[in-house]
Amino acid sequence: MTTQSKAIAASVPATAGITLAFITGLALLMASGYAQATALHDAAHDGRHAMAFPCH
């Protein structure tokens, strides 16, 4: 295996890990900042105002 193909082989799981982290981050932010469900909204209310999410 040449050095270059090793580097490519190593970067495939790296890219998968980066994608996974990115999507999980977006999902967390959707729930905490974007979702309009009443229970979530009430719990997150003060934080959303303080963090300037468009809230209601």
Binding site: T19, S32, M51, P54, C55
Partner: protein, 226 residues
């Protein structure tokens, strides 16, 4: 690889969330509670006698620990979410040969603050409770578009070759030239000074949180790699 990203994002999310919470409870939440007095009508600023005067002074934080602990939890979850995005982007840059030291992490955090807090606030300032504003869907659309345009714009400014940084500046300006959704009428019931203080202090607290986030993400990623 994925584990390192998650560990660094969680460490950074806790550190930034706690710092932001301390700053919010010291500076921001008291003004938020004071704003609620006007939202509910417990205090009136623009009275029926035409007098635009009212007493200054925030109510105490009170004993509503359920509410306040939810705020801290919200901060940690939100900063962990942003931390995951930041860790993913720093690692993606590393694949492209751009290494990030802990101190450069401060700049990543500052750019995150500009993209996610400052640029959207340029069109939609942080709102006191009770502020009447344009329909929430329109504001969310403008808000998310501005964050995306600002993040891509900052990336082009930081890493773009040739004229790409100029394109980055233009991209950052476009949402503001188009304009954020606003109503044709002002409805504010709270004193303008209170709303201004709230907006400025919110942005300041967020700046501190984001710089902490960028530093801890970069520092822990560096440590876990070696």
């Amino acid at each position: 690889m994925a584990k390192n990203l998650f560990v660094s994002a969680i460490c950074a999310g806790i550190a930034a969330g706690l710092l932001a919470s301390v700053l919010q409870f010291t500076f921001v939440i008291p003004l938020l509670l004071e704003g609620e007095l006007y939202e509910t009508g417990a205090r009136v600023h623009f009275g029926a006698d035409g007098s635009p005067q009212s007493d200054r002074g925030a109510p105490s934080l009170g004993g509503d620990w359920a509410r306040h602990s939810m705020t801290v939890a919200f901060n940690i979850v939100t900063y962990t979410g942003y931390g995951l995005l930041l860790a993913a982007m720093i690692s993606f840059a590393a694949l492209k040969g751009i290494t990030t030291s802990a101190r450069q992490g401060l700049i990543w955090g500052l750019c995150g603050y500009i993209a996610v807090q400052l640029a959207p606030a340029f069109g939609l300032p942080p709102e006191l409770p009770g502020t009447i504003a344009a329909e929430v869907g329109q504001r969310q659309l403008w808000w998310i578009s501005t964050i995306l345009a600002s993040a891509v714009g900052l990336g082009l400014i930081a890493f773009g070759r040739s004229y790409l940084p100029v394109a980055g500046v233009i991209l950052m300006a476009i949402p503001h030239l188009l304009g954020a959704p606003h109503l044709d009428t002002f409805f504010g019931v709270a004193p303008p000074e209170l709303a201004a203080e709230f907006a400025a202090l919110s942005l300041g607290a967020a700046a501190a949180g984001w710089v902490m986030l960028g530093y801890v993400v970069a520092a822990t990623l560096k440590r876990l790699e070696s």
